[in-house]
Amino acid sequence: MYDNDADRRIDISEPVMSRNDRFAAENRKFLTDRNIYTLNLISSPGAGKTTVLEVMARFFGPGMAVIEGDVQTRRDAERIERAGCRAWQIETGGACHLDAQAVGNALEHMEMEDGTVRLLAIENVGNLICPSGYFLGEDMRIGLLSIPEGDDKVLKYPSLFSTVDVLLINKMDLVPHLDFDVDRVVEECRSLNPDVTVFTVSARTGEGMEEFCGFVESNIS
């Protein structure tokens, strides 16, 4: 009986994320070979990812390209194109996050071989949980949090906010109307993640966006 049990037990010992991590490493190589610096933007739905990218598109012009991850529709990609950048839409068809393989497929189709693109921004599917374990090959991971969401989100979603390089607090124009303790959020994010860089912006009024874009630009070699 015990022999039997041993026979029926098969050892696997494989990290579940290892497959995604392999694709992410391939993306990283593909992008660094072409001198492209890559951002992964993560937030809950409606926090302002596309609006931030529209402002960035006007700042960086055709030197920037965007991958839009959405469950459905090309609407966000069209907004980016109108702002002056090329955009590629990934429709996940139900999946609540982008994975590195889907991004790799997009990279092959985006025709970025002519050297004009120096910055690639990936807008992840609006969600604070699922994207956090899926690295896409990015150089900079940006967690975007907007004022109407409330100031308790950082500690509620620690698996994301402990992995971001940048915390971008958006919709600062709404601070006078809402109870949102910016200092508390920054302090809590630092406690999870001592290396995080924080920017406070309003994509609507443009407040803080120049500093943020300048910071991104300073990271592009």
Partner: protein, 110 residues
């Protein structure tokens, strides 16, 4: 994630077979809730032709190093402070993993 798990199992076994048990290890900082993982995995395992295995989840401890005093310590969540100096400022060394350890094939499947 559950889908990635069945893919790993399918590739290792090289075939679809009814499983009795699937053993996994989950780090406390992985962001994975055991209940929702069990729910998703049970559903997907059945759809993918692995029967109705019991998912046995072992939770490990995370390792942290305090940036104030340098003490290295274990933690079971994101919110634990350094037990020596009480500082919350620390670097995470491990605790995000999700590993498929082993599977056990159902008796009648052989």
């Amino acid at each position: 994630m559950a889908k990635d798990m069945t893919r790993i199992i399918g590739r290792t076994l090289g075939r679809k077979v009814n499983l009795e048990r699937v053993n996994v290890t989950v780090g406390p900082l992985s962001g994975i809730s055991p209940e929702s993982l069990r729910f998703c995995f049970t559903e997907i395992a059945r759809m993918e032709g692995f029967g109705e295995p019991e998912l046995v989840i072992t939770t490990t401890e995370a390792r942290m190093v305090c940036l104030e005093c340098g003490h290295e310590y274990s933690a079971s969540d994101f919110y634990q402070c350094c037990p020596v100096c009480g500082s919350i400022s620390r670097r995470i060394l491990s605790g995000r993993e999700l590993t498929v350890d082993s599977v056990e094939i159902e008796d009648s499947a052989e």
